[in-house]
Subunit: 410 residues, 4 copies
């Protein structure tokens, strides 16, 4: 068995583990070093570091401290890696811990970041998903079971100081355009809850104050939340610092394109088995800016779909100009409405879009003024026939326990 | 053989054929009537009505009159169809004319509408694609050949008067926010080049003055340019007028997600074989706003990809807030840059993204401030290995004839 | 459009067309010559040359003259082809004639060759399949519709004289082991009904008397009846004579693995669009004995199956030693029995196995004494749910018109 | 985590574990009982019970005692199961032990059972495959790596006494036709090495003397060696005794269709996670004789192939009548010859056919006298291009360590 180079204890705080960090900074010390060709295993906290529990209350989702996220494992050094190289990473496998056979999906309160459809789902809700081998189902959402398209939501190499400065400058610039906005336009550095790995003392404090938050995807990859970057896939990351400094976390048992519920996949703790190699000077050879990847040969086949269109006219009839974001939101709302005809609540349908291997395609982006996006709902995840027919929908869903909701505190 | 209920003559102007129209209006007379369960064939002009030629000059793309588009075949009545029904349409097949075994792809001049990457490709360019059975290749773009994912770019039912008024109001409202903009924000009614089918005289003139242009996708479907709505798929369209009034056109031999070059697919004249059925009161039964469809069992399998990420930081480093449009543009630019390393010109690479069965996925839309989109480039369309490797790209592309360009007239 | 180098007239006898032949012999004159890189179209009779009609009687299947089959189009010469080369053939497309939108499937009488399950279906039966674009269904078999996996049942190059002699010797040897057997063990040369293409007079008579029948697959390919050698695939054929001499026929709209009903696919007349290239000295370079091929990117996706096992214990409990033939027959019988529980007659179920894109896999061939084979029945071809469930089968099939049967003449 | 109801210790003999058995008999006591709807985990020895080692000698393969195989875990009782029911088994997952990250493939000596191509590979050889997450590669076979299509080679329910008697009678009958044959025609009961689970004393002795060997697949499933019955699939087994008595073993990390090398897959120890449900009276409801199954949604996609044909003319030119076994052997030999052109030894190529997800299709079984079978070699398992091309094969394989061979003892 490959060596487990980073271990975690789910019963201890992620802050106590110095092979974990929750910010991006070039000076975070490497916690292990591997050679090109090596494969190894890394254990990971769930992205919140254990703030969410396996129960039937959404209070923890409502009260989550998002300044702490995401807890990453690393950074891992790769011998011989230099800025300008491409780090080839094979995701050989991802799995769960025997003692933690479940994951969670949540809608954040609009007061705490919200989500893609926060106007429609303004309060905190949570669903729990039990794992049964390669499959999952939820006591909160009946008649759905599917195989996990397991992937890391967040993976990438340490930025250089120069790249970090670029990030900080442009994101601060955006926030400055509307500094009072709730939710905020971007998450700027926040030293208070920073976990800088093996940095200590003043150095940690100084770095933490300028270290980039882990929320957005950036040039190095980072929090891309790409469901297809799943176990079995191969990724090419740009290297910015000597040794590369690869970190990974935010494992998802499954996710729909867009991670639309924000807390947005089936979030889990677990382990990831990686192999690394180098393409020397690969950034220049291939003209790489963002990571490039190859799909896995082992993607679950849910190849039959009902496909929903959405255009960039919003739910109030407002006309937007080639706005794919609006178009995809409409496609999602159309799918939710459709699922309610089979007996699901809107919250259950929304959770399904966040958790199941739903595809989101950009279909037309040039036919002014309407962008067109499509939402592909896999039919094979349901244990009944969800296709349209002349007989109309035969309601099959008993409802059972709905997705728990916790009202905002006054 | 199913009956061909609409025939065309490629040697005659589309304006001379009264089973063709180029605007949406509820009063356009039905040109044929079929029964539920019937299958039938409809011939279609290419979307420009023959303005583009099979030659090596982009002058025709530069000089195209876009106020004429799109020439549609129909409207076709369906017995018993009433507002609120769903019209189930099976796309049984799509084919080409023996005398017209080619299609075209174009980049419009920025002065004439531009395209998704018009800042990078501001002048008119054109590539011609020859059809060889189910496959296509272009003398302008070497080392690429692939099977067509043939589909109608534009299909849908006639709007009701009420729906038409809604469209006109909201699109005029958008144009009013910046009426001098070039290109315009939306294409408003234009009676001059309207072809109202079998309407004549003052009635045609009056209707043409208020009839909706065919450019954007709307609630009824219309110009969705969804590559996966391909032959073999099954579509459910909302019905707004008695008899449904189904029209179709803008056939594409192939297209990438987004139809990014605007003239955007491999555009062709041809025929489409359809079968219709009704789901009575289906709009309400299934909560349908936009069309819903099922994918074809006969989609070409180009299942191996190199996948490019893009985030909503633009090519000048500008930070955008969760803008999928910007993110997808970056993914496209990343793919173009990558292909140049194998010897393609940027224009050739851009044309490939427009023409080949490229996928565009919405990957992350909640991780502020960056949206993340992915562009999936199928490796099987190339006759050489386009994957990254430690050896670097082995240039294989001879270049040959590049994509013809015609400079804007002074 | 590519040139049609061999044309046929369905209203005339195949014997009157000198670009058709029904035997293999090296001296059959080439009827056309093409160059490497060329693509071209060839029209083909159905394999029986029009003996079977689109009606509801199986008399024609009972009375068919099998000594005439198969009528092939060719041979086509390829410039520069020499013995030892590989002829690369791209099957660019296959289609039907506008005036002949149907095909047939038949069970031969046991007295006239029978089929795979002739003990169970000893008399002639026939089903007619109507083509609707890329799809087919039969008035004799309700609730089934599927996309054609269109392919040539028979394609290959002319044998050399030496190879022909080998065939004749080994097949005569087999027949000699049981010369009176009905049906015969192999089909030996038969000059009476031979159609030797453009050979005439004594030469034709002499060659016809020794020319190989077209029934079995042999080293050159020939009557392989491989459903996956479908339009879009690429085949590499050994060349045995100067100019190669490629012939093709026996087009199938669809077929299950094994072509088990013998007349066995959905047999049709139509056209095939080919492109040829050469790999000089390819036989030696790649160690080729039989043709090699690459699958099509355009295979219909019927990827969900109910899979039936069969072992080499026959239906009477007889034990056979590692006999895949017996095992596959059991898997077929198991599938037929299963389908009857949903209301199909056995003949309808048998016809479905012959016509639909059913897979036959060799699963185990070493676990003495039982071979194991599997029959994969695609669920997507049925318009109802054919999966097992705790509720038991819900009979959906109305039966309608059964598969016509014609009793043997006394 | 689901409960592990059967545990094993790889350091102890399988004979010491009373939840293991290696024969089929209705009286073997149930070792655990589960309820319909339960999921649970079962640990399994490799089929030989640990006789083969992770080293570079084939001595252990040569000297293996095959009278001991296969060591199965079970039988497991299911509450409420009665003869005539169908036991629905979901294979939720299969995995390896942390301390046993490898598997083996072997060719048996012709003197000890041989294999599918034993005339060509008459002596014992072995290859060792290392597991890297979901992937495997072998130090004995360079340039090949692929994802495991992990499956149980052997699974099924206990036979009734009546069924057992049927088996014994028909297999003894076969052996009686040639009792001196080496290898034997079937493996008859052998009490000496029988492991009857929790039976003891005389009862065990008596039952062991008549218990069926586990080698062949039979009506109940058993040693089917169907690679597609993989993790994620759903199987329906006939029940013959009260409580069903489900047993499982012979786990394979991967296997080609036919398991042609006999020791034939990548054999491994490991665990399997199952869920059971009942279809009461399902045997009759669905007309079931042998097990029926549904494919997994998680099959690795190696969808591009080079496909080899074989016909029932053997390697010495001998003509066989519709013999799929001969045809498939020819297809295998053709594939082996082809691979040698890229630098593999014949033994390496043979091992690849046994271990990789190779497909074996029954293509034609009615075209007298030649059956036609196809062998599908997936191209994606090689790290170089194994397709034919005009340039001929570019040898890429360094050979490295070949597959170890141990000569028969004198």
């Amino acid at each position: 068995m490959a060596e487990t180079i980073i271990k975690i204890d789910l019963n201890k705080s992620a802050y106590e583990n110095d092979k974990i960090h929750n910010r991006w900074h070039p000076d975070i010390p490497l916690v292990a070093t591997v050679k090109p060709g090596d494969d190894f295993i890394v254990e990971c906290y769930d992205w919140t570091g254990g703030q969410i529990k396996n129960d039937d209350s959404a209070d923890d989702v409502r009260d989550v401290d998002l300044s702490q996220v995401h807890f990453l494992s690393g950074p891992i050094g790769v011998e011989g890696a230099e800025p300008g190289d491409l780090l080839e990473v094979d995701i050989l496998d991802i799995g769960t811990f025997e003692e933690s056979q479940w994951g969670f999906n949540g809608f954040f309160s609009k007061q705490n970041g919200g989500g893609f459809l926060t106007e429609h789902f303004p309060e905190a809700q949570k669903s729990i998903w039990d794992f049964n081998g390669m499959f999952t189902k939820s006591r909160h959402i009946p008649n759905v079971e599917f195989a996990g398209l397991i992937h890391p939501g967040l993976i990438g190499c340490l930025p250089s100081k120069e790249l970090l400065d670029t990030w900080n400058k442009r994101e601060a610039g955006l926030v400055a355009t509307d500094p009072e906005r709730v939710p905020e336009l971007a998450t700027l550095p926040n030293g208070e809850t920073a976990h800088m790995g093996q940095m200590t003392g003043d150095a940690a404090k100084a770095a933490g104050a300028e270290a980039a938050r882990t929320v957005p995807p950036r040039e190095h990859g980072g929090n891309c939340d790409i469901k297809d970057l799943s176990r079995g896939s191969k990724v090419y990351f740009p290297v910015y610092v000597d040794g590369a400094g690869l970190s990974v976390g935010d494992l998802h048992f499954s996710q729909g394109d867009g991670e639309i519920t924000f807390c947005g996949a089936i979030e889990m703790a677990g382990w990831i088995h990686l192999r690394v190699n180098l393409i020397k000077d690969g950034v220049k050879k291939y003209g790489i800016k963002n990571p490039v990847f190859k799909p896995s040969p082992i993607k679950p086949r849910y190849d039959d779909y009902v496909i929903f269109e959405g255009i960039s006219v919003d739910e109030d009839g407002g006309q937007h100009y080639l706005d794919v974001h609006v178009a995809y939101r409409q496609a999602c709302l159309n799918a939710i409405e459709y699922m309610t005809k089979f007996g699901y609540t809107k919250a259950q349908a929304y959770a399904i879009l966040g958790c199941a291997p739903v595809e989101g395609h950009i279909s037309g982006v040039v036919d002014i003024p309407n962008a067109c996006a499509t939402l592909w709902l896999p039919t094979g995840i349901f244990d009944f026939d969800i296709n349209p027919s002349a007989d109309g929908p035969q309601k099959k869903v008993s409802g059972g326990m709905d997705v728990p909701l916790s009202k905002d505190k006054e």
